[in-house]
């Protein structure tokens, strides 16, 4: 059982801040462990707020990712602050951001490392949620993977499902173990943009959200905290049973189309981030998945409609 001093919480905020200052803060995101350092107070506050409830990692756990996020120079700490993520790479892929957007630098820094250096998994650019067996029920946890273009509404739909009885796996990456076709959780704060923010704050209330981050490259962003229960169960994988490509269409009364065979394979291949790096195992996993799972395109006009459709499809996939 995870005790309160093993998760990030307001009670141990002072300790977490000290660890961030020393570059010794280690926390878990699903099966992965990240070590973070920052001396920037605003980022420390945002981190504590957004990462509330995450399990801390002990000395017995291997660190997969290392990241420092600090002002680019002493001057830029105080005057028109500029913050940059640093993973120690010779050619750094990261760019400096405004001081008040420091948490975005951290988010991008972590996602970039996970997306480029976790080839033990076949990674899909997708949202994932899962249904755990209820009390007294037998059987595995069952996951649905939602892929598709950026802006098609996967983050919003993932957020809606995660707060309607499904366990949040990720709104960013689906991590598939190619040996058994199970997905591993990668529960991160869900980044919601522009119109989605209004829809979701109305639905869930203000208190599960971070402060707004204004004038980013993608407009306004607010982070929706991952539900506490999905963080505590972050180590439990789920069998992938259903794959959908959701598409929000204003005024839609709902539509479903099934993809089969080569078409399903090609769409899934397109959604994978590292298919070519994983190689043969990825090809085999995609073949087996498209043979076993139903793959649907799903058009929806409202959140409740979409949730109902996903639940019905999952029922059907049993």
């Amino acid at each position: 059982m995870i005790t309160p001093d093993r998760i990030i919480s307001p009670e141990n905020g002072a300790q977490v801040t000290r660890d961030l200052n020393r570059g010794r803060l280690k926390f878990k995101v699903g099966p992965l462990v990240a070590r973070i350092g920052t001396s920037y107070p605003l980022l420390q506050r945002d981190f504590l707020d957004i990462y509330r409830g995450y399990p801390l990692a002990g000395p017995e756990e291997f660190v997969h990712f290392n990241l420092k996020v600090d002002p680019v120079s002493l001057l830029r700490r105080w005057v028109r602050p500029k913050i940059i993520a640093d993973g120690g790479f010779i050619a750094s892929p990261f760019v400096p951001l405004r001081g008040d957007l420091a948490i975005l630098a951290l988010e991008m820094g972590l996602n970039w490392q996970v997306g480029t250096r976790s080839d033990q998994f076949l990674i899909f650019h997708s949202g994932v949620v899962a249904r755990d067996p209820g009390p007294g029920e037998e059987g595995p946890s069952r996951a649905v993977l939602m892929a598709g273009e950026s802006g098609a509404g996967k983050s919003t739909l993932t957020a809606g499902l995660a707060y309607s009885g499904w366990r949040l796996f990720s709104d960013e990456f689906g991590l598939l173990d190619t040996s058994d076709l199970h997905l591993y959780p990668y529960p991160r704060p869900i980044s919601l943009k522009n119109e989605s923010i209004e829809v979701m704050t109305k639905r869930l209330g203000e208190e599960v959200f971070s402060r707004p981050f204004l004038n980013t490259l993608k407009g306004t962003i607010r982070y929706l905290r991952a539900p506490a229960e999905s963080l505590i169960n972050g180590h439990k994988p789920a069998r992938l049973d259903l794959i959908i490509f959701p598409q929000y269409v204003a005024g839609s009364t709902g539509g479903i189309s099934e993809f089969t065979g080569a078409e399903a394979f090609a769409m899934l291949r397109g959604a994978s981030v590292n298919c070519d790096r994983v190689g043969r195992s990825a090809f085999d996993a995609l073949s087996e998945l498209t043979g076993r799972c139903k793959v649907y395109g799903l058009q929806y006009g409202s959140m409740d409609m979409a949730i109902g459709m996903v639940e019905a499809l999952m029922e059907d996939a049993a």
């Binding site: 099966p31 998994f121 190689g279």
Partner: protein, 381 residues
Amino acid sequence: MKGLPEDLKTLLISPQSARDWSAERWSRAAYLAQSGAVLSRVAVDLATLDQDAPDQDADQAPLEVPGLDGCLLSAMRNGVRSQTRLSWEMDRIKRVFWDRDLKIVLLKGAAYLAAGIPCTRGRLSSDIDIMVAKDELASVEAALLDAGWVSAKEMQGEESGGYDDDYYRRWMHELPPLVNSERKTVIDVHHTILPPTGRVTADAAELLDQAVPVESEAHGRRGYFVLCDTDMFLHSVVHLFQDGEIRGGLRDLVDQTDMIAHFGARPDFWERLIARAEVLGLGRPLYYSLRYTSVLLDAPVPASVLDAARRFAPPLAVRMMMDLLVPRALSPSYLFESDRGAGLAGELLYIRSHWLRMPPLMLTRHLAIKAWRRIGGEKTA
């Protein structure tokens, strides 16, 4: 002399001793290996150890750090993929010249793969390097451009030509890099192994003349050539110690260590190597390679050879300076441990690499142009 970080050295030369390491120790060591671009190799070596000794005794116990197996699997897949890609690229390039009677010499990673040098395992190669006779350069470039390669500059949306392009064509030992427009892979076409402007140059005709056909049917590359053993070794050596900036060059030093073990067993290899370095004028960089591979990675260089190479050594002051700088520039450092010495060592060796590459006036002009453009925010070669 300061050595490599101890745990990194252990991973490179006796990874079996890392089995009982704690998670904290592994976390730091894996980071260092990743920074030095050798993690994939380490992962392959560990997997091979597991295969060779399926029943475990005490020092063969499986790794018991949770999460580490995933990291190593990821690194191993990357290494395999890099070699597959290289092999495929060799195949595609071969097709471009299938009807030409052209001597194409593979260099660096492609050559190690074709010739079956052990350092090819888990080796991450981003580019493919080939060498042709200088009077074939224009026709080789034209054929590649015709077959779907484009200039790397154009790929980035910049115009080709201009200072960088001109700089390559006039002063360098290779064409400006070409990129395959479909696969985004980069090819460097060389006509010799050192810039003709440098303090030391090598006779390209001599290198081409001694190149040997690739015989290994296993790789199916009949038709390609590789430099002969001594030259293959010397090319890696000049790349690291004469032409390159040393910083970030740990992988090259590992290549050289593997070649020493691989070639060192051949009859007369060492005599031929010393003689060849003399003929080609590459004694100084050879001295550095033998010194640092043996000190930093325990490469099996015979004592008599180290003695013989001493005649290529620089004056004492330079030697001391290099002993101070080289290990620091080659050692990756952990993100959460500050290491100011490494940064300074890297900068100094970067300046040295340019000093060796061109005469003082030309160097001044080149660095001035690069600095001017850096102020203006432009990218440079």
